[in-house]
């Protein structure tokens, strides 16, 4: 997804009084290029994750593997609102975030199979990948830990006086961790440029939000800290992009943090070994057939005659080829040399 880097917006009006708390904007009007960019970006994540699931089934990927299928619009729409240098950090369901941040599919897949050519030389695995170059700060396996870390990225932006924003992702489950609120407090107190993106996929592993959360409106979770929040249709990439624009503008103009509750859904289980018996098949099927983020874009592209079935098939093939190449690479690349056991422990 080669999203063209936008210029940082200049402060709207010198001396203008602070804007009032933003409200959920209407979905963005996408032009043809944007629709195609979103389509391709989401499709890459979907196909990549399907392939990862398959490789897991074949024993090439071990341990824990959390797939992002269903939630693709969230990272794709957010990425479309970024400028160069903006950071992203998330938890363990992270493959989609990495692909959205343009990390190499080969590097990600080879990390999943634990190979030397993986982004972390095979020493991190599914939940722990990073890229300083692409401003991707992981990949964290401890639920909620990335929220304090992401707040620290924003702290660094403010310390350096740049215009960059930290995109800090976490789930509805992590939203109940204590350090999230410690971070909210500091971020608001110090007006740190951080967007807290709560990916509410309705289930914290197997516990539904209504069974785990006293306040299920996550956009209100910052209320005690004076952090505004917006509810966003996380299945509609245009709605996500519009929210990203509002939120990044808010942060870049020095207003401090903001919360985006992305209402989304994961089609697969929490991890590969989750039979997902805590929800009905109808519920999953309904989301897939009525709200699928990729199908929505596809339908618009066809309706507006911006692409026909053949052109979409060509994109599909191109994406499948990238994924097949990454899978082939990840299965044939060599395992890390034994000497790697002892490297990278300290500098």
């Amino acid at each position: 997804m080669a999203a063209a880097a936008k210029k940082a917006p200049t402060k709207s009006k010198a001396g203008a009084k602070p804007p009032s708390a933003p409200t959920t904007p209407k979905p963005a009007d996408f032009n043809k290029e944007q629709e195609l960019e979103a389509y391709r970006g989401m499709l890459l994540i979907r196909r990549f994750e399907e392939k990862a699931g398959q490789l897991y089934g074949m024993g090439f990927i071990g341990g824990f593997c959390h797939l992002y299928i269903g939630q693709e619009a969230v990272v794709t729409g957010m990425k479309m609102g970024l400028i160069d240098g903006d950071q992203m950090i998330t938890a363990y369901r992270d493959h989609g975030h990495m692909l959205a941040m343009d990390l190499s599919p080969r590097g990600v897949m080879a990390e999943l199979t634990g190979r030397e050519a993986g982004l972390s030389k095979g020493k991190g695995g599914s939940m722990h990948m990073f890229s300083k170059e692409k401003h991707f700060y992981g990949g964290h396996g401890i639920v909620g830990a990335q929220v304090s870390l992401g707040t620290g990225l924003a702290f660094a932006n403010r310390y350096r006086g740049n215009k960059n924003v930290s995109l800090t992702y976490f789930g509805d489950g992590a939203a109940n961790q204590g350090q999230v609120y410690e971070s909210f407090n500091m971020a608001s107190l110090w007006k740190l440029p951080v967007i807290y993106i709560i990916e509410n996929n309705r289930y914290a592993m197997g516990t539904s939000v209504t069974r785990s959360s006293a306040e299920t409106d996550f956009s209100h979770r910052g209320a005690s800290f004076k952090i505004p929040g917006m509810k966003v249709d996380g299945m509609d990439v245009r709605a996500v992009k519009a929210a990203a624009d509002v939120a990044t503008e808010w942060c870049r103009s020095g207003e401090g943090p903001i919360i985006l509750e992305m209402q989304t859904y994961r089609y697969r289980g929490h991890s590969m070994s989750d039979p997902a018996k805590y929800r009905s098949k109808d519920e999953v099927q309904k989301m897939r057939s009525e709200h699928d983020p990729i199908e929505q874009v596809k339908a618009r592209l066809i309706e507006k005659k911006w692409a026909d079935e053949n052109e979409l098939k060509a994109i599909d093939k191109e994406v499948r080829d990238i994924v097949a190449d990454s899978a082939e690479f990840a299965q044939t690349a060599s395992e890390p040399d034994a000497s790697e056991l002892w490297t990278d422990i300290t500098h």
């Binding site: 074949m58 024993g59 990073f130 870390l149 924003a154 204590g178 070994s273 039979p275 300290t346």
Partner: protein, 461 residues
């Protein structure tokens, strides 16, 4: 070409499973994402989704079959334009992806090499030479720590201090006195009382290349933050394959102060010393406090810097030099001797030093080694000394089980057993939560008499 659907592994530990039900029949059209079968694993009954689209050409393993090994072909999928006759012999069909997969289901399951190479040794530089005639200035540990931070903050704008009461209050123990006035609120940051949160904020900032000094009012409170210290700060360099680390210092008073009871009186040297990826420093003298804190701030790794409230006010000579930096990972021979080696660190050194004076009166010439750094541990210096004295006593205030002394005794017994003329004696705090009552607190801590007795025991006096 027809695609074989293989028996999938559906948990980190699954090797075989049962095909309990087929949800598609031969001849059914299948789209990617459609559930085609149910498989019973060692943990649950799982649905199997198709990855590719096509027509289910043939079911190879009937519903109800048990003990099907992972990666066994269970069905064949026909792509557009193919018919069942294309299947031919199933073995000739294209494997879903990897030709080698069926034969090598789990590359990771290969037996590990029988021997594992030892960790490579890293050389640590010796202390810098102090030029003859260098003025020595009597300095408290408190002042030395402050001077170290101020010097490094002048030198590098990426260095900043954050913690509770570090700015306007001038430090709960006045270690950051004057820093706010010199460096301003941007670089001397008062935090809310929120250890877990600000430790994580510090680590996040460090991952971008800033060099935070995070002050914990005491290390007892850092238990709230230990996940960020261990899981985020210490492990990121390894987990990122060397791409990204956390150049951060966590510092503050550690161990028992006086009469503050169990929750505020605990030594964390052994706790953090356990963790690969961390460096752990615990100075005794003001000179070491200064030189090592400057080194810790410059170090690209996370450093745990364990101070002691009782030592803050003690004065030691500190060389007056422009840039006095000491090596992390190098013990210091505090006093040379020939009859016995006493190893200690931090406030433990106060017992060792006093005991040595008493022992001298008894005609016992003790060598005292101040570890200064707990991790990486300078075992070479200890072992060289033991080879000379053949006797070893280790002194620390922390709890006895799995203590720093335990590890040293173990390593010395493995590496210098033949040089020992007596069992190693480890002196630690008593195995009890720290009591409040003055007399009980005294009993819980090590004392000089214990050290003297231990030395007498290993020297058979």
């Amino acid at each position: 070409m027809p695609i074989e659907i293989l028996m999938p592994a559906l948990s980190p530990t699954m090797e075989e499973g049962n095909v309990s039900k087929w949800l598609k029949n031969e001849g059914d059209k299948v789209a990617a994402g459609d559930v085609i079968a149910e498989i019973e694993t060692d943990k649950a009954t799982m649905e199997v989704e198709a990855v590719d689209e096509g027509v289910l050409g043939k079911i190879l393993i009937a519903a109800g079959t048990e003990g099907v090994k992972v990666n066994t072909p269970i069905a064949v999928l026909l792509e557009e334009g193919e018919s069942a006759s294309d299947i031919g012999g199933a073995p000739a069909a294209k494997k879903a992806d990897a030709p080698a997969a069926a034969e090598q289901p789990a590359p990771a399951a290969e037996p590990a090499a029988p021997t594992v190479a030892a960790a490579p040794k890293t050389e640590v530089a010796a202390d810098p030479d102090i030029p003859a005639g260098t003025e020595m200035v009597s300095t408290t540990v408190r002042e030395a720590l402050r001077d170290a931070m101020a010097e490094e903050m002048r030198r590098d704008d990426a260095v900043f201090v954050m913690g509770e009461e570090v700015a306007e209050y001038q430090g709960a123990y006045k270690i950051t006195q004057g820093l706010l006035q010199e460096f301003g609120a941007r670089r001397v940051v008062d935090t809310p009382i929120t250890e877990h949160g600000f430790a994580g904020v510090g680590v996040g900032a460090a991952m971008t290349g800033l060099k935070p000094i995070v002050e914990f009012m005491t290390f007892n409170f850092a238990m709230q933050a230990i996940d960020q210290i261990v899981n985020s700060a210490a492990k990121t360099l390894y987990m990122s394959g060397g791409q990204m680390g956390a150049p951060i210092v966590f510092r503050g008073p550690n161990g028992a102060a006086a009469r503050v009871a169990a929750q505020h009186s605990q030594c964390y040297a052994a706790w953090y010393g356990h963790i690969p990826g961390l460096k752990v420093v615990m100075p005794y003298t003001a000179a070491d406090a200064k030189g090592l804190l400057k080194a810790a701030i410059r170090d690209p790794n996370p450093v745990i810097f364990l101070e002691n409230e009782i030592l803050y006010g003690q004065a030691f000579d500190v060389p007056k030099m422009d840039d006095f930096v000491l090596p992390i990972g190098k013990a210091r021979i505090h006093k040379t001797g020939s009859d016995v080696t006493i190893v200690s660190f931090g406030i433990g050194m106060t017992y060792a030093v006093k005991a040595e004076a008493e022992l001298r009166g008894m005609g016992i010439d003790a060598e005292i080694i101040d570890l200064r750094t707990i991790r990486p541990l300078d075992l070479d210096t200890i072992i060289a000394s033991v080879k000379k004295t053949n006797r070893l006593v280790v002194v620390e205030e922390g709890f006895p089980q799995s203590s720093v002394g335990d590890f040293i005794a173990n390593q010395v017994s493995q590496r210098a057993f033949d040089h020992l003329d007596a069992p190693v004696i480890t002196i630690a705090g008593k195995d009890v939560p720290m009591p409040y009552a003055a007399n009980l607190e005294k009993l819980a801590l090590p004392n000089v008499g214990e050290v003297v007795e231990a030395v007498k025991a290993v020297t058979y006096r």
